[in-house]
């Protein structure tokens, strides 16, 4: 389903594309910072700091794009987004603390990895958006 099918208003199409662009750039820069440190410039701290700074700047742009996108949506869509954001934040806090306890108590062998939490939050957000849109269809 394209963004044009979800909402044909030009402002929403534009902000959706901007959000997709900045999110893609942020994910790409996160991959570069992680893989670069491990494979490309092994243990060169300066290059890793630059990669992290780029990732941080792109992340801030992604947040700005998300805020602009929310502002372009209509009131029902904003309601769905706010509910999804609340569910995502709640899931992140609850799942994050449980995951941290499991790691601290040695129930899971490897150290707690932030990437796992990001994936859980992303899945919670996607599920909440789908359920929200289905509820008001």
């Amino acid at each position: 389903m394209t963004c044009e099918q979800l909402d044909s208003r030009p402002a929403v199409i534009n902000t959706t594309k901007q959000l997709a662009l900045w999110t893609g750039a942020w994910v790409g820069s996160a991959a570069l910072a992680t893989l670069g440190h491990q494979l490309l410039w092994t243990n060169n701290i300066s290059l890793s700091l630059i990669a992290i700074a780029i990732n941080l700047l792109l992340g801030m742009q992604m947040i700005r794009a998300y805020i602009k996108h929310i502002k372009a949506l209509d009131e029902l869509q904003q309601k769905v987004q706010i509910e999804a954001a609340a569910i995502t934040a709640g899931t992140g806090i609850v799942a994050g603390s449980s995951y941290s306890y499991l790691s601290n108590f040695g129930v899971i062998q490897q150290e707690a990895n932030i990437a796992v939490l990001i994936v859980i939050m992303a899945l919670a957000y996607i599920a909440a958006i789908i359920i929200g849109m289905w509820r008001y269809r």
């Binding site: 909402d7 209509d74 009131e75 029902l76 269809r137």
Partner: protein
């Protein structure tokens, strides 16, 4: 909250997309309002009233009243 949006729209032979364009919202929002699944804000209700040249209470009705 009950409303007469669907009837008013049909009288003018408008589609949900036409009404959504006129109100500056998505078609999904018009559909949700018509089905009573979502109550519009006061500014959007006023916009509907202006569009149909009616008073708000001629379009929207409080079910608890």
């Amino acid at each position: 909250m009950k409303n007469r949006l669907k009837v008013l729209r049909a009288e003018r032979d408008w589609t949900q997309a036409d009404l959504a364009n006129a109100l500056g919202v998505s078609r999904q929002t018009v559909n949700a309002i018509e089905k009573g699944k979502f109550d519009p804000s006061l500014p959007l209700a006023f916009k509907c009233a202006r569009l149909f040249n009616l008073a708000i209470e001629e379009i929207f009705e409080d079910e608890n009243h």
